[in-house]
């Protein structure tokens, strides 16, 4: 019997008992994937806080003579064009990359939150205005935004981060607005008003927390995306500054040798993907818990 029928059981017996819908959906149970994700997250944490614990070599020590050596026991991920140990650089790059990813996402979220909140809670006029502002941001090709920011303040991780943050903001704004609207009109906000709670308390205790849960899930996706974005800037030669070992930059630099030395791009790329995977799985875990409740 197809799984449609399995899942539809939720709806089938839904009206009768509230918890069936929770049982019904397969997405909504803690999965082994979550455990793996946590493990990887732990690795990232260590790599950020104390990279030296994980490194097998000095990340920036050059050794031109053994450049381009493929993965081996000596160099797990091989060496790059300057003979630096790719594995150690990948570990080294974790901090920088996550910093870019996280802070870019943070910037995007912050702006998005402000715009979204104003739009959702500020009345129809503000909503319209913010809507346009959002469209303006949307209408700007993200890359141009990035280029402008970079030529304005010079290249480097910071500007790259700002650029990426800015260009992701409208997306967040739109989603947050939607969330806030649905919460604003929800029964529990009404109930809180009836109990005589003030608007700020309601916003702080009910609206915001509930809006943030799905947003958190978004953010997890955003981090990986931001790193990828930054790497594209590095490809255009505007990303992190050498010799900083940042995944995006490594990806961009290694690209030249993709046919001769695959390991230069594959491993940093893998880290980006795995990070996105891990964060997303964790994000899903968060929302799954929340999702049961809506």
């Amino acid at each position: 019997m197809s799984d449609v029928e399995l899942r539809s059981r939720a709806a089938a017996v839904g009206p009768e008992c509230g918890r069936a819908s929770a049982l019904g959906a397969g997405t909504r149970r803690v999965r082994p994937g979550t455990v793996l994700a946590l493990a990887f997250a732990a690795f990232l944490l260590v790599a950020t806080v104390a990279p030296s614990l994980l490194q097998t070599a000095a990340p920036n020590a050059i050794a031109p003579r053994d450049a381009f050596s493929p993965p081996s026991l000596a160099h797990w991920f091989g060496t790059d064009e300057s003979g630096r140990d790719v594995y150690s650089r990948v570990v080294q790059g974790t901090g920088a990359s996550l910093a870019i990813g996280a802070s870019a996402t943070a910037i995007g979220l912050a702006i998005g939150l402000i715009l979204g909140a104003v739009a959702a809670l500020g009345g129809s006029v503000l909503d319209f205005v913010v809507g346009r502002v959002n469209e303006v941001l949307f209408a700007f090709p993200g890359i141009l935004l990035a280029l402008l920011v970079i030529v304005l303040w010079g290249p480097g991780p910071v500007t790259a981060t700002i650029a990426v943050g800015l260009s992701t903001a409208p997306g967040y704004a739109r989603i947050i607005r939607g969330e806030l609207l649905s919460i604003r009109d929800s029964g529990f906000v009404e109930a809180a008003r009836v109990l005589g709670h003030g608007p700020f308390r309601i916003f702080a205790r009910h609206v915001l927390p509930n809006a943030l849960v799905p947003v958190a899930a978004l953010a997890t996706l955003g981090i990986g995306q931001a790193v990828v974005w930054a790497s594209s800037l590095s490809y255009l030669g505007l990303g992190a500054q050498p010799p900083a070992a940042e995944w995006g930059a490594m990806l961009a630099a290694g690209r030249t040798y993709i046919t001769t030395a695959w390991w230069l791009t594959v491993f940093p790329g893998l880290m980006i993907v795995l990070t996105t995977l891990a964060t997303t799985v964790l994000g899903r875990a968060i929302t799954a818990r929340d999702g049961r409740r809506r």
Binding site: P15, E16, G18, A192, L195, G198, N210
Partner: protein, 571 residues
Amino acid sequence: MTGTTQAAPAPTDAPVADVLAIEGLRVTFGDGGAPVEAVRGIDLRVGRGEVVALVGESGSGKSVTARAALGLAGAGARVQAERFELDGSDVRRATPRQWRRLRGAKAGLVLQDALVSLDPLRPIGREIGDALRLHLGLRPAAARARVLGLLELVGMPHPALTIDRRSGELSGGMRQRALIASALALDPPLVIADEPTTALDVGVQVRVLGLLAEAAARGAGVLLISHDLAVVSRIADRVVVLADGVVVEAGPTGEVLASPRHPRTRELIAAVPTDVPRGVPLLGAPATAGPSQPAAAPAVRPPAPTGAPPVVEARGLVKAFTVGGSTTVAVDDVDLRLERGRTLGLVGESGSGKTTVARLLLALTRPDAGTVRLDGDAWSELPERARRPQRRRIGAIWQDPFGSFDPRWGVERLLRDAIAAGGGAPGSAAVADLLDQVHLSPDLAARHPLDLSGGQRQRVAIARALAARPDVLICDEPVSALDVTVQARVLDLLDELQREHGLALLVISHDLGVVRHMSDELAVMRHGRILEQGPAERVFDAPEHEYTAALIRDSPRLAVGPDARRDPADR
């Protein structure tokens, strides 16, 4: 209204061949390690032209049984039966492919809410036509013609227009008709209707039942699933009462109603509020009730000296909504008085403006005209800032308590929050006490509403409302989402609490039976206006307005005599 019925009504007294024959049906959900047995060996028979009502509370297994009859119990379910025949063919070993051929052709399904049971993105014509397409491979044009016929059959107004509408664009009644039409598309020998009338306005209820009765009259076997004995008793030839996955009682409707043998059956009968006079508890002592000590809430206030202003008084309330250019008047010149310790019932069909009135009284929306006064003082005119400290005095419970709980909060936190709002000390003692007042065990405090049953949730909602020590409780459709038995207990609880705390209640419902049972005063509302208002008994016994009369006539009551199921058909 039913228009052209083509097939000559099959004589009901003719020997009936079973379209559904089930013996020893067991359904177990192997969720995780501990398998849950939802249905534990029931026998069920539906003959041609026969309406069989499968009645029971939530979790009694009735819906699972119905699904099983369609092979939709779910992949997680294990279905066993000694005998399982659909229109004569054994389906115990049926493959998914075979099931698909049976569904729709041999058995049609009518679900509760057509708004979600029909794909909101597809015109109903297509939805109905699907069955034809799937089983007869009809070309769109041919299918359309057939669908139009079906819409005629179910008495859909202007079929030619409605056929291209989506369910969201239709009224509840029309939707339900469409849904039934899709179930009848291939004129299946068996029609299974799962709560087809729950939460529908009584008028619509009657018409829907009428359609099912007609289907039976045309020779189909109808399996009608409901928690409300009163509703099904209208048209059911036989009643099968389920409890905890077993049949506790079965027999001709008349007999079962006249002389119920099993306590669960009696409970179901007793739970029907219609015609039970005000103040008489429906189910005697609440089943879940513990020893109810005197409440910690303030003692009953003395009934207000006559002449004292009503707790809540609304004068000339008017509220209109403008949705993109078009304006609709939701509430039109409404006057209401809520006296301390008494209950005002407000009844009307969906869309009559009941809820808007509630929101106006709660000062959640500003009236365009008119005022609401609280204890004679200004209320609706107050600036929100000034009103806020007073708000706790008017509590509210809604049809969907779940939606009124912050999804992130557990029972305890919900109640503490409310107690604090009422100026009380939010200790766990207070929480336990509140739960006790609504006859819930204190250890529910630790749970999340998600893990509570519908009835328990509504009790928690009531507890939260009480926590703020209100003078007035506004109940908007407090029970319409609940099983009758649960509904009965909640109603009894409200009564009890009113007596304890001298609350003034406003009970809003589309179900006149409920309102009448609860109310001292009664107001009938339609199109935003109060049609008539007065002492409950008077309004109910001698309705001044024809509409009121219709409401009274349609409100579900236990039918007496086997011919009961005829009457809806001739309207």
